[in-house]
């Protein structure tokens, strides 16, 4: 291996690692706030990428129908609950949030998609179609059992993952898609060629991480999410509803997932089931951070990206094996350095 290849692999590794870092942060966030190990995180990556690909073909993406159906289902659940306690005042807000707004997004997509608008607009549209699915999934699958044990929540995650993968196959078909790059620019830096797309990935990931940091440090909702993660009872006592915190963290996770999908779509071919592996690599990063530390999780995910790049050069057949084997020494090391805390139930 010469230095040119080494540098190229670093560039490749950092680009993928940035995506894994975003996903790792989302996983840590969701776990800290809701105790859910969010396996379907990867599905949001695939949905984001495939929705953008459909829009670029001028078609109405299948996620539009999913958004409508999920919205109607959430509205039904909320309406039953509201009417049972006689809270008729809530009905208009429920209908607006879960039926009218999703319908408006779908109509917009249906009207705009065949005109093949500019890429920025397509990306925004893809995010509008996919991100609301995050809080809807939380409302339908997790909120009814929000106080269950971590294991039960994990089982729900597995179920949601399989359901979403299956729906992905229904809506997008078995063929993979790859979207055109955001930028065709290339720069020569000594022996190294830097592609515009990898700069896009790194730039967007970095901005998103900074934005998240500012959100958690300086906004009242960011602080509310941290408070919920630190002390659930205390959070309720100051008026932070666990359901609100759950929906907000799932919205962020869905946004991060869908945006990651949009970013990787031009780099790798994404299939309906590709999200799982991508998400799992983010998960390895999150585990390095013990599912609690944001900076260590991000660093771990970058390491996963680099390891993957070098592994695919030396032993490409064993690439995934090498990446996932990394989790073993990490778990051994963590089990020696952290004292085990039994899960507290109320």
């Amino acid at each position: 291996m010469n230095s040119e290849i080494a540098l190229f692999l670093i560039q490749d590794g950092l680009t993928n690692g940035a995506i894994y870092a975003l996903l790792a942060l989302a996983l840590v966030l969701v776990f800290a706030v809701t105790r859910v190990i969010f396996i379907p995180q990867g599905e949001f990556v695939a949905y984001g990428a495939l929705t953008l690909a459909s829009l670029q073909l001028g078609k109405l993406p299948g996620t539009a129908w999913l958004l409508l159906t999920a919205g109607v289902a959430v509205a039904a659940v909320e309406l039953v609950q509201a009417l049972r306690i006689g809270a008729v005042r809530r009905v208009p807000a429920i209908v607006l949030h879960y039926v009218l707004v999703p319908s408006a997004i779908v109509v917009l997509a249906w009207w705009v998609a065949p005109q093949k608008p500019a890429l920025t607009f397509q990306v925004l549209l893809a995010l509008l179609l996919v991100v609301p699915l995050g809080p809807m999934v939380y409302r339908l699958a997790y909120q009814p059992l929000a106080n269950a044990s971590v294991l039960v929540l994990l089982i729900i995650s597995v179920a949601v993952h399989f359901a979403m993968t299956g729906l992905g196959l229904v809506f997008f078909g078995a063929e993979g898609s790859r979207t055109p790059a955001f930028s065709d620019a290339h720069w020569k830096l000594g022996v190294l060629t830097i592609s515009g797309q990898s700069l896009w990935v790194l730039g967007v990931s970095l901005s998103l991480i900074v934005a998240l940091l500012l959100f958690f440090e300086h906004t009242i909702y960011g602080k509310a999410l941290r408070a919920t993660a630190v002390n659930r009872v205390g959070a309720r006592l100051v008026g932070i509803s666990p359901a609100m915190a759950g929906k907000l963290s799932f919205t962020l996770a869905a946004l991060i997932g869908a945006l990651s999908g949009v970013l990787v779509a031009p780099i790798t071919t994404i299939y309906y089931d590709s999200g799982f592996l991508v998400g799992l690599k983010g998960f390895v990063g999150a585990i390095v951070g013990g599912l609690v530390s944001y900076p260590i999780a991000a660093a771990g995910a970058l390491l996963v990206g680099l390891l993957e790049a070098y592994a695919s050069f030396w032993a490409s057949a064993y690439k995934e094996v090498i990446v996932f084997t990394m989790i073993v020494p990490v778990l051994v090391w963590r089990s020696f350095t952290t004292h085990h805390i039994e899960e507290e139930e109320e």
């Binding site: 809270a87 602080k223 941290r226 002390n231 309720r236 006592l237 100051v238 932070i240 509803s241």
Partner: protein
């Protein structure tokens, strides 16, 4: 004058075991009412049910409305606030952030008077101002209680429920805390105070209830309770002297 809080026939059960049985009590606007009683009498359970953290049967009416279907988070917005026995602070966050979060529901309503309340809380507890950037988890026991009280005041409560505010604190700190509680009367806040330190509680309050094994055993104006032989024998004996 109608009561701010009116509780009738309230029962709370953990599974099949009833911890609070058919309790009735009322708190009038601007009054300090105390619930005293031995360990395990159900005092903490009672407050948790009033806050909506525990499910209960019976009728809780607050400011003229029924609280049956109002979740704990929403009750905060109505002006109910509980300072629990375990304080439940956000240990990994700064003192200032804890206070900010106390006013969470007011930020949602874009209340402009929050900053003035910061000053008030800092004036009440200068120690918190000195330590505003410190993590709540690094505070001493007394400072934590101050922060818990400060965080509660940031929500602008109409009815403040305090669960054992003197628990585990040094006598001098207990005196400070009770001085603050007495001072809150001037601000028009109604207070429901649960205490094992019966002497101090009866001194600061207007009306008192004695809770024994989940039921109200005695009730009356605090001054009368303090001279009631049954209360003196069980709760104000020589052993409970000390702070106050």
């Amino acid at each position: 004058m109608s009561a701010l809080l009116q509780v009738r026939g309230l029962s709370v059960a953990y599974g099949k075991i009833e911890a609070v049985h058919q309790v009735g009590l009322s708190v009038e606007e601007g009054r300090i009412v105390t619930v005293i009683g031995p360990n395990g009498a159900g005092k903490t359970t009672l407050l948790a049910a009033l806050m909506g953290v525990l499910p209960s049967r019976g009728n809780i009416s607050y400011a003229g409305g029924d609280l049956a279907h109002v979740e704990a988070e929403k009750r905060v917005g109505l002006g109910l606030c509980l300072v629990p026995e375990r304080r439940e602070l956000f240990a990994a966050m700064t003192v200032e952030d804890n206070l900010v979060l106390g006013a969470f529901h007011r930020y949602r309503k874009r209340d402009k008077s929050i900053n003035a309340d910061f000053e008030q809380v800092y004036q009440l507890f200068p120690r918190l101002k000195e330590r505003y950037r410190q993590l709540a988890g690094t505070l001493s026991g007394g400072e934590r209680q101050m922060l818990a009280l400060g965080r509660a005041l940031m929500s602008r409560p109409r009815l403040l429920m305090l669960d054992e505010p003197s628990l585990g604190l040094a006598p001098l700190v207990v005196r400070d805390i009770f001085r603050v509680i007495a001072g809150l009367r001037e601000t028009g806040v109604s207070i429901l105070l649960v205490e094992q330190n019966a002497r101090a509680a009866l001194q600061v309050s207007d009306y008192g209830y004695v809770l024994e094994t989940g039921e109200i055993a005695v009730e009356g104006p605090s001054a009368e309770l303090a001279s009631d032989p049954r209360v003196i024998e069980s709760y104000l004996g020589l052993a409970s002297g000390g702070a106050g």
